[in-house]
Symmetry: C2
Subunit: 764 residues, 2 copies
Amino acid sequence: MQNSEDGKTFFVKIHAPWEVLVTYAEVLGIKMPIKLSDIPRPKYPPLRYMLGPVKLPATVKYPHPEYFTAQFSRHRQELFLIEDEATFFPSSTRNRIVYYILSRCPFGVEEGKKKIGIERLLNSNTYLSAYPLHDGQYWKPSRTPSHINERYTLHQNWARFSYFYKEQPLDLIRNYYGEKIGIYFVFLGYYTEMLLIAALVGLACFIYGLLSMENNQTSTEICDPNIGGQMIMCPLCDGVCDYWRLNTTCLHSKFSHLFDNESTVFFALFMGIWVTLFLEFWKQRQARLEYEWDLVDFEEEQQQLQLRPEFEAMCKRKKMNPVTKEMEPHMPRCHRIPWYFVSGTTVIFGMALLLSSMVSVIVYRLSVFATFASFMESEATLQNVKSYLTPQLATSLSGSCLNCIVILILNFFYEKISAWITKMEIPRTYQEYESSLTLKIFLFQFVNYYSACFYVAFFKGKLVGYPGKYTYMFNLWRSEECDPAGCLIELTTQLTIIMIAKQIFGNVYEACQPLVFNWWRRRRTRTHSEKLYSRWEQDHDLQAFGQLGLFYEYLETVIQFGFVTLFVASFPLAPLFALINNIVEIRVDAWKLTTQYRRPVAAKAHSIGVWQDILFGMAIISIATNAFIVAFTSDIIPRLVYFYAYSSNSSEPLSGYVNNSLSVFLIADFPNNTAPMEKKGFTTCRYRDYRNPPDHENKYVHNMQFWHVLAAKMAFIIVMEHIVLLFKFLLAWMIPDVPKDVIEKIKREKLMTVKIIHDFELNK
Amino acid sequence: MQNSEDGKTFFVKIHAPWEVLVTYAEVLGIKMPIKLSDIPRPKYPPLRYMLGPVKLPATVKYPHPEYFTAQFSRHRQELFLIEDEATFFPSSTRNRIVYYILSRCPFGVEEGKKKIGIERLLNSNTYLSAYPLHDGQYWKPSRTPSHINERYTLHQNWARFSYFYKEQPLDLIRNYYGEKIGIYFVFLGYYTEMLLIAALVGLACFIYGLLSMENNQTSTEICDPNIGGQMIMCPLCDGVCDYWRLNTTCLHSKFSHLFDNESTVFFALFMGIWVTLFLEFWKQRQARLEYEWDLVDFEEEQQQLQLRPEFEAMCKRKKMNPVTKEMEPHMPRCHRIPWYFVSGTTVIFGMALLLSSMVSVIVYRLSVFATFASFMESEATLQNVKSYLTPQLATSLSGSCLNCIVILILNFFYEKISAWITKMEIPRTYQEYESSLTLKIFLFQFVNYYSACFYVAFFKGKLVGYPGKYTYMFNLWRSEECDPAGCLIELTTQLTIIMIAKQIFGNVYEACQPLVFNWWRRRRTRTHSEKLYSRWEQDHDLQAFGQLGLFYEYLETVIQFGFVTLFVASFPLAPLFALINNIVEIRVDAWKLTTQYRRPVAAKAHSIGVWQDILFGMAIISIATNAFIVAFTSDIIPRLVYFYAYSSNSSEPLSGYVNNSLSVFLIADFPNNTAPMEKKGFTTCRYRDYRNPPDHENKYVHNMQFWHVLAAKMAFIIVMEHIVLLFKFLLAWMIPDVPKDVIEKIKREKLMTVKIIHDFELNK
C-alpha cells in the first residue's frame, strides 16, 4: 500500500513472485525458449548499403537471439534457458499473468454467488484503475545497468519524429507492449512500405498529366477564343443564370486534364494489381510474423474468450459448455432479441440520418448554386476570379466542407450511442463485444465517409435531363450538372477535401488530446522531484489506453485504405497523401504510446482479425468502382470513341472533340420562366450530351453517338473488370499464403522441439 | 513362399506381427482410440421416416463406435483400448504399415549406394507386383464369425446397383480402402446430392419451356404461313444454296424455345448461387469429415512426400534438408530445365494440335454445309425431313460427332505422352509427380472438351458479315451462320452430344475394361476350387488399381462439373444428365473396386487437394460464361429490347418481333457468283441482323436498334455478374468453413485427450 503525493490517492503495488509466474505460465501455455535456434537470421538484402540509413542497429532490432520454444512446464524447468529469474519472462508476459490473476480474483460473495475480478471492482469504482507500470522514464536510461529501460530504448529508436525514415524495432515493441499492439505496428509499417510504390506510380501519372497539361487538345480548344469563346452554353440554373461562354472554364479544364487523362486507365489497372499484391504479401508477412513471434499454435486469446463480468452478473441461467462439459452462465437468445432489435434499429436510423444529411447537403448545393451563379454573374469585382472559381467549384467546395463538418459531428454522436447500445446487448465475451461494435461502427463510417464520394462519382450529373426538360428534385431544385470540365475533377475535389481534412484533423487530435489531458492532470505535480512524485503516480496521471484504442487506430487506417483504393482512378495522388499521413501516424502513435499513455496490458493476437476480411472486401469493391469511374465519371471513353470513330481530321484526331461533345438547343424551346430574361443575339445554346439537334425529326433524343459511347463504356467496364479479376485470382493462386522458407522453419522448429523434449525426458 | 496353381508364379506372403505394427504405428504417428467419445452421434433429421429407405442399417453405417484418439505410442500401450491385438489396427492401417516397410527395405548395394524399396524391385521386374490381400470373397461372408469379411459387407451394402438410392457406408469404405479413396466417394456422394437440387430446378425450367412451347409468339410467327411463310431468307451458302422461306424452320424454332426462354436467365442466376453453395458446403463437409476421420492434425502423407526411387537413382548430388539438417539427394534445377522445356513444349504442341483439329472440324463444317444444303435442296425425298433436319442441324450434328471422336483419340495419345514426359522430369516426390501430371492433363482436357462449346457459344455466327459482304475463312469458306432459330440451340446440341457421349463411353469403358481383362486372366482357372486357386492368386489375377486410378476418377468428375456449370444457361437439363450419370458412376466405381480390382494400398488424405482449387476456378469462370451466353448466345435480350422499346402492339407486345429482327437485303447487291443462279420473282431477301435497309443513306450499316441491343446485352452482363459475385462473396463470408459444432467437437476431443494422457501419466 503506497500513498500518493497528493495525499488523496492510495496505490496497491502488485508483484508476482517466481512461483506464481511459473504456475500461471504453465496455465496460460506460454512458450519459452529451450534452445538457441539454429536457423540463420535472414541476411540483409543485396542493397544493404543503400538501405543502410533505414536500418536500426542490430542490438535494437533484435533485442535477444532467436530461440526454439516450448510451452512452459513447471515440472521440467531445467529444460528451459533460465539465466535470471527476474528477466526470464519478458515484462509483457509478466503483466499479462498478473492481469490474468487479477481478473479472476474473487473478492466477495453476493446472494450466494462469488464476485470475481478486477473489472467489476473498477466498474463499481472500488478501485480507480489498474495498470501495469512503465519501465521507467522515457527521457533517461535506467540507472542500474543490469536492468534495461525498454521504454527509453523505444523512445530513442522509435517514438521520435526525426526517425521517420527508419524501420521500426518490432521485436522490442512486441516485448514491451505484447503481440496485439505489435502486430498493429507491423501492419502499419507494411502498409506504408507498400504505399511507397503506389505513391511513386501515382506521382508519375500526375507528372505525366502536368507535362501534357499545356498542349492537350481538349483544353486548347476550350481556351481558344475562336472555338471555346464562340460557344454559347445554356444557363446553369433556371431564370437567374445567364448564358455563358465555354472559354470561361479554360483554366479549370486544364486542371481537369491533370487527373482525367490516359494515365488514369493505366493507374486504375495498376492499383487493381497493387491491391491484390498488398493483400497477398500481407498474408505472407503475417505468416512470417507468426513464426517469428511464436504464434504458430496459438489459437485464441484467453483474455478475449473470458466471459465478461457484466455478462456473468446479468445471467440467471446456466447451460453446459459442449467443450468442457461444465455448467456456465448462459443467456437464452430470446432475452437478447429486444436488444438486437434496438441495435439494428439504431444502425438503420444512424444510416438514414446520415443519408438524409447527405441529401440535405445536396439540397444545399442545389439551392445555393443559383445564388452563387447569379451573384458571381452580377458582381463585377468577381469577374477576375471567375476563371479560377466557377460557380460549380464554389458550390462543391463549400458543399464538401459542409459535408465534412456534418461527417465529423455525426461520427462523434454515433460512436457514443453505438458503444452504449453494444453494452446493452450484453455480449458474452470481449471478442463478441468487439466484433459487434466493429460491425456497427464500420458500417456507419463506411457510409459516412464514402457516400458523398459515391454520389459525386456515380450519380451527380448523370440524370440531369436536357435544357427544356431538366429533372427536378422534389419538383423544386434542378439536378446538379457536372463541372463543364468533366465530372472527374469534382470527385477529385471532394476526395481531396475529405481525405486531407480527416487526416490532418485525425493526427492533430490524436497528438493534442492526450497532451492537453496530461498537462491538465499533472498541472500541480509538474515541479516536484521524483522522490515525491512516484513512478506509479506518474503513470496514473497518464491517459488510459482503452480496450478500444487499437480498434480506432485500425478503423482510421482501413478507412484511409478505402480512399486509396476505392476512388483512386480519380485521384492518383491519394496514395502519396496517405503515405505522408502514415509516416506521421506511425511516429505519433509511437510517441503517444511511449510517453502519453499508461502502459497497456499485453495481449496476444496472431492476425489483424476481422480487418483482413474488410480489406479484402474493399479490394474487390475497388475493382468495380474504379472501372465505373473510368467509364462513367471520366471523359476518356467519349474522347477515345471520337478519336477512333468520329474524327474527320487524320493529322490531329482529337481536334473538334469539344464541339462534337456538345449538343445544340434551340433557345425558343425553353419552357416559360426558365430561360434568362433578357434576349440575346443568338438562337441556340450548347449543353454537354449527345442528343439530336433541334432540326432533327426526333429532336433532343439521344443520337447514335450516345449509344456508341455507352456501348464503349460498358465494354470497357467488362474488359477491365475481367482482366483485373483474372490477374487477381491468378496472383492469389500463385502466391502461397505461407512462404516456403517459413514452412520449412516451422517444421524445423517443431522437429527440434519434439527431439529436445524427448531427449530431456529420457535423461531425466 | 507359396506356389501358385499355374505352377509358374511364386508368391511371398508378408505378415506383420504385433511388435512390428506397434513400432511403425508410432513412427507413422497413427492415431488410435483411447476412450469412447462422449459426443453424441448426430441425430437423424426430422424427416427420418421419409429418409428411411435411403438410410443403411446403423451397424453398416457405423461399423464401430466413435472414440477419442491419440497418437499411438509403444510406451503407453495400456492407454489404448486394445481388446484384440489382431483387430486393434484396422486392415487398411496394417497394409499401409507393411507397404511403408516394404518401400524402405534395403535389398542390395550398387556402387556403394544402398538399393532400397519394393518400387525399384517392381520396376526392374524382380517382382511382378506387390499388393495387399482382399478380406475374402465378395460373394460369401467369412466362415469364422470372429472375423468379418468387410469386402462382402461392402459388396452387399454398397457395390450393388439395386442400392443406387441408398447412402454409402462411408466409414466402412474408409476402414477398408483408407481415407484417400474414402474421401473420393464422399465427394462423389456429396456432389450427387447437390446435383439433385440443380436437376430439379433445371427440370422445372425445362418443363416451363415445354408448356410454353406451343403458344410462344416467336415460333408462332415463324410457323405462320402468312408471316414466316412470306419471308424470303437469303441463301445460306454462296452459289449453290437457294433462297428459303422462314417457316421451314418452324419445328426447330419450337425446340429452340425449349431452352431459349425467360427461365434461362433465372436458371443462370440460380446456378451461380448453387455453385457457390456447393463449394461452401463442401468445405464444411470436408471439415466435418476431418473431425470424424481423425485427420485434424494430419499434415501430409508420408508416402506422398517420400522421395521417388527413380529420383534417388538418378541423383548424383546431395544437399542439406533445411528441416532435418540431413543430407539428401538433390537435383540442381539446371539439370531439370531441359525436361521442363520439353514438357512445356509438349503441352503447347498438344494444345496447338487440339485447336488445329478444332479448326479443321470447323472447316469440315463449312465445306460440308454447302454440300448438305444443296443436296437437301435437290433431293425430293428429303423434303419431308427438312422441317426436322435443317442443313445447319445436319452439319452441326455430324460436326459434333466428328469432334467427339477426335477428342477421344487425341485424349488417348496425349495421356500416354504426358505420363511419359512427366516421368522424364524426374520429380522429387510422388506428390510433385502427381501435381505436374494433373496440371498437364487437366489443361489439355479443359481445352479438349470445352473448346468446341466455347466456339459455338461465343464465336459462331458472331462475325458472319452480311449478304454481299460475308467474311471468309482463309478467303475460301464463308463463316458459319447460326441456326435461324438462334445460336443457343446449337450450343445445346453440341453440349448434349459431347456430354452424353463422354458419359456413356466413360461408364461403359470403366465397367467393361476390367471385366474383359479379368475374364481373360482367369480364363483357365475359372473352374478350379478355392483350395487349388488360392486367395493371393485370385487377387493377383485381378487388375491393379494404379496410382493414377483416383486421378482419372476425379478428372472425369471435374470435367463433368464443368459441363454442368460453364454452359448450364444453354442446357438446363445438364444437371439431370449429370445426376443420372453419377448415380451410375458411384455404383460402377464401387463394384469395380470391390470385385474387379486388387485391393489398393491404403493412403491418407484430408481433402480433395488441387481439385478444390480447380472447382473454385471453374465456379468463377462459370459466372462469366453464363452471363455471356444469356447476353450473346441466347435471343432473350433482343426480344426484351423489342418488348420494351420497339413494340407498337400494346396487347401482344412481342408480335412483329420476327419481322423486326430480320434486316432486308437487295438481291441486286449480291457480288458476282454468290447469288443463286436462277432468277426468282422477288427483289429482296432477309437475314438475321440489325442493319439499315437498302434504301437508307448508309445502307447495310448497323442501325440504332443494333446499338440499343448491344448496350442492353452489356448492361445485362454487368448487372448479372455483379449480382452473382456479390452473392457469392456474401455467402462465402457468411458460411464458415468449419461449422460451429465441429469446432466445438474438435476442441472437446483435444481437451479430453490431453486430460486422459495427463491422468494416465500421473497414475503410471
